[in-house]
Each structure stands twice: as structure tokens, then as C-alpha cells.
Amino acid sequence: MSGIEGDDLDRALCSAGGLIAPRTPELEHELATLSVATRSRTRARARKRIGTIAAAGGLVLLLAGGAAAAATGVWRPWAETPDGSFTYVLPSGIECEERIGVVEADDPDVRAALQSIFQTVDVVAEAEPGVSSWERRLRADGGALDIARTWVETGRTSLPTVDDVIAQMAYSRAVDEVIARELRERGLDLDESGIGMSSRGQAVCTEGAP
């Protein structure tokens, strides 16, 4: 029979597991940077294998155009101080605001440039001509339609129709293209230079048609 009680063993194990140095902001920053760097490296290698939707979008920003993020709820903490935002209206009349933040990039100029773009460019107006084209491309892509249907059917999005989901995806990708173009004009060509970056996006939409 063992010489110590179970509670004593639990306490000892707990104590022995708590020796790791505390999480500091510096450590969290290094881990976030590593997370982006490893992802960028993997994506650079896998770029040719990326599916139709992703490849067509250029993957500049992780916009919320995954309607899974569309909700009528509250903003996530990071979205309270976003690097940029834009609004658009979906076919059913629902208005969505999309916010971009937590921009992590190998090149620190990228984040400043993104903030500048959102402050000085009406990205939605610039993107409008490309939205319908993106809607057609997404509808022609069986995978995108499947995703949209699944999200609506399973309630993973607050958007009521597949049309709305596709439209939101189209807005995200069209805005994405505008951002990429603006970055290129500022000498930051993500596709060509392989600058690694990542961001978060969240969309919050109105309850229904006004």
C-alpha cells in the first residue's frame, strides 16, 4: 500500500506542474508571432494546393466573410479597438459591420499601412464593382455553396439565407482585393514577397431587414 494519501499526491503533482514561468505579455507576443510565422511558412509551401475559394481570394486578410462569424451578438474584445472596419448591406436588407484587427505581420509596416488604408479609402465603394463578379464565382464553386448551405441549415450563421451568406463572402473577398491593391501601391506586395501576415475578422449584423 502506498505511503501517502491521495490528496497529498494530488497536491504534490499540482505543485510540481506549476513551476513554469508565468505568462508575460512578452512571452504571449513571441508565441503569437511564432504562430503567424509557422502558419505563413506552411501556407507558402501549400499555396499551390489551396482550394479554389482561398486561392481566388489572395488570402490577404482573414475577413469574416466566413459567415460563421456573422452574428447579432457583441464584439469580441479585440474588435473593440480594430485596425479597420467597413459596412455593407446584404440581399435581404441586413446590414453588417465587419471589423479587422490583431494584425500580426513579419513586416511591421503592414499593420500601419492597413490602418491607413481603412482611414483614407472607402474600401466598400472601391470593392462594389467586384462584388457581383465574386458572387458568380462563389456560386459556381460547389464547395462555397455547400458551406453556405451548411451554415444556414446548422445555425452556424445568424444570416437567414444562402444568398446572404454568399453575398457576405463576396463582399469580404472583394474588399480583400481592394486591400491587396492598396498595399501593392504602398510597396507591400504580399503575394510576391511572401510577407507573412495574419489578422482576425468579425462581422456583426442587424437582426433582420429594416
Binding site: A12, T38, R41, L63, S172
Partner: protein, 179 residues
């Protein structure tokens, strides 16, 4: 199934990997010495990103999946020398320059005892007591039935109790039984 194809999915994956990264670092730091933990975190992330389409939707299952990757990375590292990743250079430097934490004698004894357990027992103890998984979740990560895990876990506890009895008795870690 539509895992890993939409941008919402990509964002979720990034959230998941980023939020688990401190725990992954702690996982490696508890099991190997020195800043090599940075390289293992880096390797785990690289493998996770390559297989990100397999990331489960459920948060708990996603965390289990990431620790499953980490466990295999650790096993490989213990069989061969740790590969040094340039990607991990900054984190490695950060860990190397970090002030060392106070490590008391009892904790050293406990960790040493855990390290002396056979691998199949050691994994369960660590995942449950240090990473905070339930025994059933730990069984899932290790890839054994929950019933098998229960037996091994009890076996591990008995062995640890025997190994640690002198050290814990000397340090007076007996709930209200200080002699």
C-alpha cells in the same frame, strides 16, 4: 464536412492555435529541459498548420487534437535530438533570457518521479494533472480506451505514491498530519 475551407475556419484555427500555444509551451517545458521547448512548440505548430483541415470543430476536441500532435512531436524529440527551427529563434532567446523560477526540492522530486514512470503511465499523469484534461480526454489523446486509461492511471498513482512517500513525508506534505 466543411472543415478548413472557409475564412471563418481559418480565423478559428488561428484563434485555436494561438490560444493553446502557452499551454503547449508549458507542456514541453514540463517534460524537457532548456529552451528546446521553443523548437518543439514551433514544430508542433508547423505540423498543426499542415494538417489544419483535421482540426476538430469542438474547442475541447481541438485542444485535445493539438496536444496529440504535441505528444508525437515530444516522442520524436526524445528519440532523436531536437531539431532547431529558425522560426523559433526569438522564442528560444526569450526562454533562455527569462529569469529562472524558484524550483523547490519537493517539486523536483515529484517531477523526477513522474519522469521515471513508464511512458504510457507518465503521459496520463501529466495530461490530467498538469494540462488539465479529464482522464477520458487524456485517454483520447493517448489513443487508448477510457477503461484502459483508468487502470493505468490508478497504477501510475500507486507507483508515484510509493516513490514519493519518503520525500513527501519528510517535507510534511500530509494534510494536517505534520509530525
Amino acid at each position: 464536412m466543411s472543415r478548413g475551407t472557409g475564412r471563418g475556419e481559418a480565423s478559428r484555427a488561428l484563434d485555436c492555435v494561438a490560444s493553446c500555444s502557452p499551454d503547449l509551451l508549458a507542456y514541453f517545458e514540463r517534460r524537457i529541459d532548456g529552451p528546446e521547448a521553443a523548437d518543439l512548440v514551433s514544430e508542433t505548430m508547423l505540423i498543426a498548420w499542415r494538417r489544419i483541415d483535421d482540426l476538430p470543430q469542438d474547442d475541447t476536441e481541438a485542444r485535445m487534437w493539438l496536444f496529440g500532435v504535441a505528444r508525437r512531436v515530444l516522442a520524436n524529440a526524445q528519440r532523436a535530438s531536437v531539431r532547431r527551427w529558425k522560426l523559433a529563434e526569438r522564442l528560444r532567446g526569450h526562454l533562455a533570457s527569462r529569469p529562472t523560477t524558484h524550483d523547490d526540492a519537493q517539486a523536483i522530486d515529484v517531477r523526477d518521479a513522474v519522469r521515471r514512470l513508464p511512458e504510457d503511465l507518465r503521459d496520463l499523469i501529466g495530461l490530467v494533472h498538469w494540462e488539465g484534461f479529464t482522464l477520458a480526454e487524456a485517454a483520447g489523446i493517448v489513443g487508448i480506451p477510457a477503461s484502459t486509461a483508468r487502470g493505468r492511471y490508478q497504477n501510475a498513482r500507486r507507483r508515484l505514491a510509493d516513490m514519493l512517500a519518503p520525500a513527501l513525508s519528510d517535507s510534511g506534505v500530509r494534510g494536517g498530519e505534520d509530525a
